[in-house]
Amino acid sequence: MRLMSLREALAAHVADGDCVALEGFTHLIPFAAGHELIRQGRRNLHLVRMTPDLIYDQLIGMGCAKRLTFSWGGNPGIGSLHRLRDAVEHGWPRPLELDEHSHAGMAAAFCAGAARLPFGVLRGYLDNDLDKVNPRIGRIECPFSGERLAAVPAINPDVTILHAQCADREGNVAIHGIVGAQREAALAAGALVVTVEEIVDQLAPAMNGIVLPHWTVDAVVHCPGGAYPSYAHGHYTRDNDFYQRWDAISRDRDGFNDWMREHVLETNDHAGFLASLRVEAA
């Protein structure tokens, strides 16, 4: 593990064309890292995320992505991801290939990836049209009962990027609260970059808690607020209001471009991004 700046870490670990998963299910979405990928101008990424959320709307709208593996692509509780829709419906700013799953299927694929099995098995994709549009959804027969089940190929991203609450100086990373498929995405990856709210001398004891041990972590980045406008349990809450405002910001191409220029492209880093939004501080 190396302690790096976000800029260094992403320059070192993410190349054009890589398969990249920025995971975090509502909670701990690595916004700062997503913005930095945009600033660095990454192209042709194969993005992986169960729930694309606003950060993938931004990456897609900025032309970083060529392909998307996902299972639910909306603005939670609000509606559409307009940039995702524009890419799928009109190919703007470029066409986006979809590799579409259900949550259960994608979770099974991440689990298989973490265990380095070539495929995951589930009772799923039953009598619906998903396997007609996704050739990666297969079937497998139980060698004992003959029963047919669904199979999905393992997901093993080149790089997984997470945001977490805490790392210690060795690089052990602790996550608590809603953990989604973060641990599986982390252990499935070729390289693992984690931004954290805090770096501490000693992690709080959490015998059966969720820890990514230091030798599975390639880079740790100290990046307070790195999940904003998503949230970090124990540090700050989700900015639901921002999620609502995004609907208007992202609805048309020009408004989106202006906003991204002002707040992401023309800010230096995440602190600059937060300052540009005048997020309130206690």
């Binding site: 949550h103 589930l122 619906n128 602190a271």
Partner: protein
């Protein structure tokens, strides 16, 4: 107290269908309001699971997202998301799953993926998320949606989640372990499947709603159940509790987010 809105009718009707100690897989929006209303009224020990991994959660206000901190904070415990789907849903440990959809057909099959062809949709919807397997494995599902001939359709553009397929017992011949959609709760009343054909029929109307209204909101020729029951209006107490819940929710979510000062030194 002012008359109930149609959203309130739907929420109350759904809440009444839940029982104490039932295990619900909850989605955001009306289902979340219905489940928590049930919890604050007749079903205090209802077990709520949100797909973010929060099990046995007891939020004081409604979450705006499926993974609000409030859900984790008030849960019995929080599991990684893959376990929600494998160890709880797939394992048959969920009594009731709530689903929404852009389109429902007469056999309770759902579309939440695309309007138009998949490869060149006129409207790209969010997609299946948890729904395909909730539809398969929850012991029963309740579908909640606002009715119109564009949502209650003759033919789905895409089948995201299987209901009764082509009806007439077709579902029983598949690998789905749950019983399928036992009710579609709309803004005029409730549709339930015919015991043999599985076709959704009008089985209950909100007091004040009419069969004509129902028929106008459904694209297929809507059949009536042997008896169409009348659903009593939300009681004073139901409405008061639901409105207080919404008021608490608005209040909680109107608090501006505050980041630790160190983060926004420049602002």
């Amino acid at each position: 107290m002012s008359a109930a809105t149609r959203d309130e009718w739907m929420t109350v009707a759904a809440a009444r269908m839940l029982w104490n100690r039932c295990v619900c897989f909850v989605g955001i929006g009306l289902p979340s309001a219905a489940c928590n209303l049930a919890r604050f009224t007749h079903a205090p020990d209802i077990v709520l699971i949100y797909e973010s991994g929060t099990i046995g959660t007891r939020p004081d206000v409604l979450p705006l997202s499926i993974g609000d901190g409030e859900l984790a904070q008030t849960a019995s415990f929080v599991v990684p998301l893959p376990e929600v789907f494998s160890h709880y849903l797939q394992a048959g440990r969920v009594d009731v799953g709530f689903l929404g959809a852009a389109q429902v057909d007469r056999y309770g099959n759902l579309n939440s993926t695309v309007i138009g062809p998949y490869e060149s949709p006129t409207t790209r919807l969010p997609g299946g998320g948890g729904a395909p397997e909730i539809a398969a494995h929850a012991r029963q599902t309740f579908v909640m949606l606002k009715a119109s001939p564009r949502s209650l359709v003759e033919q789905l553009d895409f089948r995201t989640s299987a209901g009764y397929l082509d009806g007439h017992g077709a579902r029983a011949r598949t690998g789905a372990t749950g019983d399928g959609p036992r009710a579609v709760i709309t803004d005029f009343g409730i549709l339930t499947p015919h015991p043999r054909s599985d076709e959704l029929r009008l089985s209950a109307l909100y007091a004040g709603a009419t069969v004509e209204e129902a028929r106008a909101a459904v694209a297929w020729p809507l059949l009536l159940a042997e008896t169409v029951e009348t659903i009593a209006a939300p009681s004073e107490s139901e409405l008061a509790i639901l409105r207080a819940l919404h008021a608490r929710t608005r209040e909680a979510h109107s608090q501006p987010v505050v980041l630790p000062k160190s983060l926004v030194g420049g602002a």
